[in-house]
Assembly symmetry: C2
Homo-oligomer: 148 residues x 2
DNA sequence: ATCATACATTTGTATATACAAATATTGTTT
DNA sequence: AAACAATATTTGTATATACAAATGTATGAT
């Protein structure tokens, strides 16, 4: 990926802004690929993310603030995101009996099964996205990203 | 930035998905910082981006498809984005006389002056974002990002 | 010249996101 | 117990974005 070529400029961009633009371009690309891989399942990346978190709970219900805390991209309207998953039958939502302010969200069997299929689709996608990277380079990239 | 800590998980994430999540987290952070740096000017990152492209034209007008082509994040409604800049007096828009399908967009003096102020604000922000990086590491990061 | 096609932009619409305010429930203080 | 603050979620609203369809203009073939 050549930054200058993509944004169609001939002049040299200073290293710091160039890096910021580069990060955004790469991220756009990754998001685009992943979103289209999830398209057959009709879920957004955020919804997929929530399903993964719920699976990680291993049956233990999660409430909205827990979800919000663990999501990669924060958003205040997790309510509506869960609404969507509910409509698809991927989660159940009940009022927490011990504290009626809270809600308890659990992934359904359908949700779990579909999530497995999504995982397969995504692991194929990862192969594509990272096709030019060997293990050492991925480690190196992660080390650099840790510096942010 | 520790991925596992941020998304609150204890279990080890395979390297490829971990990198994808890592990229997104870093990007979110950069966007957040930049967006708030641009807030005083009441422009979004996209709008800032368009202003920079127009400056790069050095007086030569740009039409919508040119802008679209050069934007970091593509979006089909560049029309409405330019509407916003127009409302703020940062650009002028006229119908292209030689081909009336096209529009000609140029940055105004006000736009140029404000853009300079934005540049200053952003260069300060870059110092913050990349505070843990030396030049060699930035080069290294760019080299790795090129592999995408 | 007329028609079909391609081009450049605009508009419509559905969905996503950000932020603030509202609602409901619980806990704490007096 | 009543009043107040704190917590958890929901709703409202404005703006952003993605995608498809519509509009207006130019070009080429017949």
């Amino acid at each position: 990926m050549n930054v200058e070529e993509i944004i169609k400029t001939t002049k040299k961009i200073p290293l710091e802004p160039r890096t910021a633009i580069h990060m955004e371009l790469v991220n756009n690309k990754i998001n685009e690929i992943m979103t289209s891989a999830l398209k057959p399942f009709e879920v957004s990346m955020q919804q997929f993310n929530v399903l993964r978190i719920l699976r990680g709970q291993k049956g233990k219900p999660a409430n909205l603030s827990t979800l919000n805390e663990r999501m990669v991209t924060k958003m205040s309207n997790t309510t509506r995101l869960v609404d969507k998953l509910l409509a698809k039958g991927f989660v159940n939502r009940t009022v927490c009996p011990s504290n009626r302010r809270k809600v308890e969200i659990v992934i359904t069997d359908t949700g779990l099964k579909t999530l497995e299929q999504m995982d397969e689709a995504l692991s194929g996608v990862h192969k594509v996205i990272f096709k030019n990277f060997d293990n050492k380079e991925l480690e190196q990239l992660n080390t650099l990203l840790d510096k942010f």
